[in-house]
């Protein structure tokens, strides 16, 4: 549990772009390196967090819960939010001065393509729990296209994904 907390605390500080940016890295450690769960279980926990109301950061609580029970869930959520929250608290007081600084604007522009690459990575890893499959590619592709091109409520897109999963798997 300490290992999980320490790792999530570090991850907290590199999560530029929020939870979606680090879903791939988290899966690498939780599934590939530590073997705490299978890739399929990781995608299923993520599904539960997406389907439940509330911020998507709650997936960290589910990962902690899977690894070490309820206390693990609280610790994981706290570890992931704590360092970033401390930073936000501290920077909140300086933002007026930082906002127009040239270095900050440069960094913000630099972070756009990086976040894009990281978020697509997260989506790819979540959509391929058993490696690439046409069923997975179909569901993920359709859902990405629906979000990009329509104004559908994402909950409908998730529901359609569930239905397709039922029919195809």
């Amino acid at each position: 549990m300490l290992q999980l907390a320490g790792y999530f605390a570090l991850l907290s500080l590199v999560s530029v772009g929020g939870i979606p940016s680090v879903m791939s890295e988290m899966q690498r450690v939780v599934v590939d390196v530590q073997g705490w769960m299978s890739a399929a279980e990781y995608t299923q926990l993520f599904a539960i967090a997406q389907a439940a109301p509330g911020p998507n950061v709650l997936v960290t609580a589910l990962i902690g819960w899977k690894v070490a029970g309820f206390s693990g869930g609280f610790v994981a959520l706290g570890a992931f939010c704590g360092p970033a929250a401390a930073l936000a608290y501290w920077v909140g007081g300086y933002w007026d001065r930082m906002r127009d600084a040239a270095w900050r604007k440069l960094l913000q522009r630099a972070l756009v393509p990086i976040s894009v690459g990281f978020i697509v990575s997260g989506g790819y890893v979540l959509a391929t729990p058993q490696g690439l499959s046409w069923q997975g590619a179909l569901i993920a592709g359709a859902s990405a296209a629906a979000l990009y091109a329509t104004k559908l409520n994402p909950l409908w897109i998730l529901a359609a994904g569930g239905l397709l999963g039922f029919l195809l798997f």
Partner: protein, 146 residues
């Protein structure tokens, strides 16, 4: 907070949101910290954050427990896996929306594709990739090609 209670002006709220999207960490979580601090200091931050998370946390645990009871059922597992894959698709759709300003910036596209290649396909640690990518992005931004 903006429309119903009028605790904060729209422009001011947009400002706070911009800050929280720039910083690492969950965006809404950070908003609660910054606004909590502004109005009530450190205690305000803690209370705002706890208030934001408490009820959704109960929901998500309840759903997880329910799923644990049914996860041996292949049909239930198929539905939940489908939802997870669709959720991954939502990330991809979001990223493409975010990438719209990069359409005419080949260096930006190259950096995004490069990040995807090493992270998703190469399975390299994000802690190794981020500093290198940030440096490249910074240099590109300074040259005005990003």
């Amino acid at each position: 907070m903006v429309e119903e209670r009028r605790w904060i002006a729209p422009a001011d709220f947009a400002e706070v949101l911009a800050l929280c999207q720039f910083l690492p960490g969950p965006n809404v979580g950070n908003v609660s910290i910054v606004l909590g601090r502004r109005w009530f200091g450190p205690v305000g931050s803690l209370v705002a954050f706890a208030g934001l998370m408490a009820l959704p946390l109960v929901w998500v645990f309840a759903l997880a427990l329910l799923y644990a009871d049914f996860s041996s059922n292949p049909a239930v597992r198929a539905v939940v896996t489908g939802v997870g894959i669709a959720g991954g698709g939502l990330f991809i759709g979001t990223a493409f929306k975010l990438a719209k300003p990069l359409a005419r910036k080949p260096w930006g596209i190259a950096l995004a594709v490069g990040c995807f290649g090493v992270i998703a396909l190469g399975r390299v640690s994000l802690f190794a990739v981020l500093p290198v990518a940030a440096l490249l992005g910074w240099l590109a931004a300074r040259k005005g090609v990003l």
